[in-house]
Symmetry: C2
Subunit: 342 residues, 2 copies
């Protein structure tokens, strides 16, 4: 799956670490890795008390290392976003078995003495994927070779990453050379590389986006994971920097059926899909005048199949664009893929 590779390469395959997690909602990273990078996960590992499972083979760090694992990945969070002391012995054991440790959490691995000392003693790496590269240039705005697609949304957390991943897989399935470009923690763990856009210093954010999708072959597609929303009261600046720096030829607008308010900012109504597309095309044309909209990724996970298909069809009629739920696939999704590549 080298179409998921990036310049910043994480050690793979992974052993997924589930800690002592009992709440499936805290295991989103593990489920994302299972769903999108299952072929690069040798198994899962948990400590006493855990009830969450991914369905991958359960194994010890020693067994994982023998199966070729190169790193243990923390696949779960907790409500505080920290790495509890009850997990430390398991992570040290993984290092003793020969694995590096990879984390996408807010807390830094190297700030935990026990882990830092074990890594130094054993010659293992502690990799925090929330840390951006150190030498990001100021954006130049210069056109780059190759094709680019950016997913963007009416809000955060409604399917931009999954839409980009599904499109990448669909492009590759059609024999097209395509690379998923990750811009957030889970995406980076899935891709094995990328740049955490939210952690880049503001002046360099567009430069980071340029760095993420460098010059490529004429028919190659970079499919870039969007962040935030151009209408988000806290994150619109990140979204605009990503749009300008990505210079997309094609955008796909993502929305969740039924979402009406900005997540965490209930005073803010969500923009319409049309407004989102219109503003993205207007702003994006600044760095790529050829920008166009390929269609809409509509998250219908809260609807039944029949209602979902009916909504996808009616939204497609209303907007005059392909509208598909990438997680449902089917004919509407193939039409979206056609439109992106046309």
């Amino acid at each position: 799956m080298n179409h998921l590779k990036s310049d910043v390469v994480l050690p793979q395959p992974y052993l997924l670490f589930l800690g002592d997690t009992t709440e499936p909602g805290y295991a989103k990273t593990a489920f994302g890795l299972r769903d999108w990078a299952g072929g690069r996960c040798v198994g899962e590992y948990a400590i006493d008390g855990a009830t969450v499972v991914t369905g991958l083979a359960r194994m010890t760090p020693e067994q994982a290392a023998a199966s070729g694992a190169k790193a243990i990945v923390i696949g779960v969070a907790n409500s505080g976003g920290f790495i509890p002391a009850t997990w430390w012995p398991a992570l040290v054991r993984a290092m003793e078995a020969g694995l590096d440790v990879v984390s996408g959490m807010h807390a830094r691995l190297r700030d935990i003495d026990v882990l830092r000392e074990a890594a130094a003693r054993l010659g293992r790496r502690l990799i925090d994927v929330r840390e951006p590269p150190s030498a990001i240039p100021i954006a130049t705005g210069k056109p780059r070779t190759g094709k680019r697609l950016l997913t963007l949304g009416t809000d955060c957390a409604l399917g931009k990453k999954y839409t980009a991943l599904a499109l990448t897989h669909a492009f590759v399935a059609r024999g097209i050379d395509a690379t998923f470009r990750a811009t957030g923690q889970t995406g980076i763990l899935i891709a094995g590389g990328g740049i955490p856009m939210d952690a880049v210093v503001a002046d360099f954010a567009a430069g980071a986006a340029e760095m993420l999708s460098p010059d490529a072959a004429e028919h190659h597609w970079d499919v870039i994971e969007g962040q935030g929303s151009l209408f988000h009261p806290a994150y619109a600046g990140v979204s605009l920097a990503l749009l300008h720096g990505s210079q997309p030829d094609v955008i796909v607008a993502c929305h969740e059926a039924g979402r009406e308010r900005v997540l965490g900012h209930p005073a803010y109504a969500l923009p319409s899909i049309e407004e989102t597309i219109d503003l993205a095309l207007r702003l994006g044309a600044r760095t790529n005048p050829r920008i166009r909209c390929g269609g809409v990724g509509l998250n219908t996970s809260r609807l039944e199949e029949t209602a979902a298909l009916r909504l996808l069809a009616s939204e497609s009629d209303r907007l005059g664009l392909p509208v598909a739920d990438p997680m449902r696939g089917g004919a509407s999704f193939e039409r979206l893929v056609d439109a992106c590549l046309s």
Copy 2:
């Protein structure tokens, strides 16, 4: 001049340090401090070789300390943006005389061993104004009390800071309670506080803008220094975060007569003033639906007086808005002030 005070307070008054500078173009910070914070500069100090002067009284660090100076401010740059070793003894002497050291340069004072050791030995502070506060929250998007004005521009480096300063002084001269809010290094040195927006991590940029202009009295005005441009291929994300977080009631669009290409990005044409106002109002309405344009600040420094006044009048007719050069003042500037406050 407490209308220039902010939450982050620099030690004032200043002694301006000119190093061994022979190129007036490198002394922009010193000239800006002389022009806008002259009452808080006790004098200037230079070392052998300097030819640049500000016109302030020349004095030693000991004389400056005796005159009440609290800090020496590096008022000049060099082509590398670093602090040369030839300046170090003068900065150490200033610390020995009782002064803190303040710098807006890229290089960090504390990364220079000689300065760090002298500061520790003498109990002085080394203050790098490019460092943002450590605890910036994510933006909430919640409305705040008081009035806000934001300058924004068709490009970088064409008068957003000077326009904001001139408007602040004009407001105060009319008896209105107003505070200049600095968002860049020179502005922060002038104001004695502020937040360097370009150095904030992208996810927190709008939150920093909210922090910079907190709740205030009903009739108080915060006049906020704009950064970058919504059309800038590298910095538009910063500009949008500042616009969203500032929630301005009034914007003033800044432009330089004759500038046609983005500074440092000659492949990019500058947007028109109308496009700049239109996009800023559209985007700014997301966090403040009452946003309106007060008029235009037009930098005519490259024109003769007669040509400048003719251009200000014709642009005002064309745009149907007050258009003034804040550095020339006059009736057109008073009309701009009227329109901002109306």
